[in-house]
């Protein structure tokens, strides 16, 4: 569950939680495509597999939308988003049906970025930058 995302699924009264993605501990190239769901109102709560993702996101952004669906965006397949492993996919999960569908936008957000549902229904995603993806800034400098 390292670097995974966790969200209380709507409606909150159902007390269902989803864990999305994550990866190995520390410097690890492992990342998980899984989603896992737990129902705390069950007699003996336990995690079960939810729909699988195509690429395993660390640091996924999870936003609950106005229609009680969950928007999953961004994330990175490597620890701390070192270069260009940003996940350019977005999905919507519907807790009522248990189904997930791919959305069009390609948003590259990786290490510890965020997303928030705005009052007018738009979602803002922000932050995140690969440590070494920007080649212009990683070239050794030349002193004159």
């Amino acid at each position: 569950m390292e670097t995974s995302g966790t969200v209380m699924l709507p409606p909150a009264q159902d007390e269902k939680f989803m864990v999305v993605g994550g990866g190995g501990i520390g410097e690890s190239i492992k990342s998980s495509k899984k989603t896992r769901i737990i129902d705390l109102t069950a007699d003996s709560p336990h995690f079960t597999d939810g729909p699988q993702l195509e690429e395993g996101p660390r640091y996924p952004e999870l936003s609950i939308l106005h229609d009680d669906t969950l928007l999953i965006t961004g994330g990175d397949q490597d620890y701390r988003g070192p270069s260009a492993e940003s996940i350019l996919q977005a999905r919507i999960y519907d807790a009522k049906t248990g189904e997930m569908r791919r959305m069009a936008p390609e948003v590259g957000r990786n290490y510890r970025s965020g997303s928030i549902l705005l009052p007018d229904g738009w979602v803002i995603t922000f932050g995140g930058d690969s440590l070494f993806a920007d080649k212009a800034k990683t070239k050794p400098g030349v002193f004159e």
Binding site: A12, Q13, E15, T41
Partner: protein, 142 residues
């Protein structure tokens, strides 16, 4: 020309948590410093309780070790932090939620957590615990 700088790299640094706490006012977009936390915490998990208080858990202390289980609660009326009185060690970055049916006035709120294992050395404390209103004790879920 001559210069000295710390080595740049991906190596883990010795994290140093600090005690500082601020309130943010979205209208004025200003931060106001409030009373410091009892514990220094790098990356604490903050959870808003239903009565408006805020619970601080986990984080790395001023020498980079995971805070050993002491949690504290911020009260915006007094702008001070008080230990919750409950001690339970969480790994770094626990994801913590206030259970919808939990009573709000108790000093130790009912929480559900799905913590990550630790990103910091020697910080892992075992399996993720979960507590539900119908099951007030902390239990580990598969």
């Amino acid at each position: 020309m001559y210069g000295i700088a710390n080595k740049l790299g991906l190596d883990k640094k010795d994290f140093q948590g600090i005690h500082d706490a601020y309130e943010f006012d979205p209208r004025t977009e200003k931060f106001t410093k409030v009373a410091p936390m009892n514990e220094a915490r790098w990356y604490p998990t903050l959870t808003r309780l239903s009565d408006g208080r805020v619970l601080a858990l986990s984080g790395l202390d001023d020498i980079g070790q995971v805070v050993p289980g002491k949690s504290e609660i911020y009260d915006s009326k007094t702008r001070t932090w008080t230990y919750s009185g409950k001690v339970r060690q969480f790994p770094t970055y626990p994801a913590v939620f206030h259970c919808p049916t939990a009573p709000s006035s108790t000093p130790a709120p009912t929480l559900a957590t799905a913590p990550t294992t630790s990103a910091a050395p020697r910080a892992s404390v075992g399996s993720p615990p979960t507590s539900s209103p119908s099951c007030p004790a902390w239990t580990t879920q598969a």
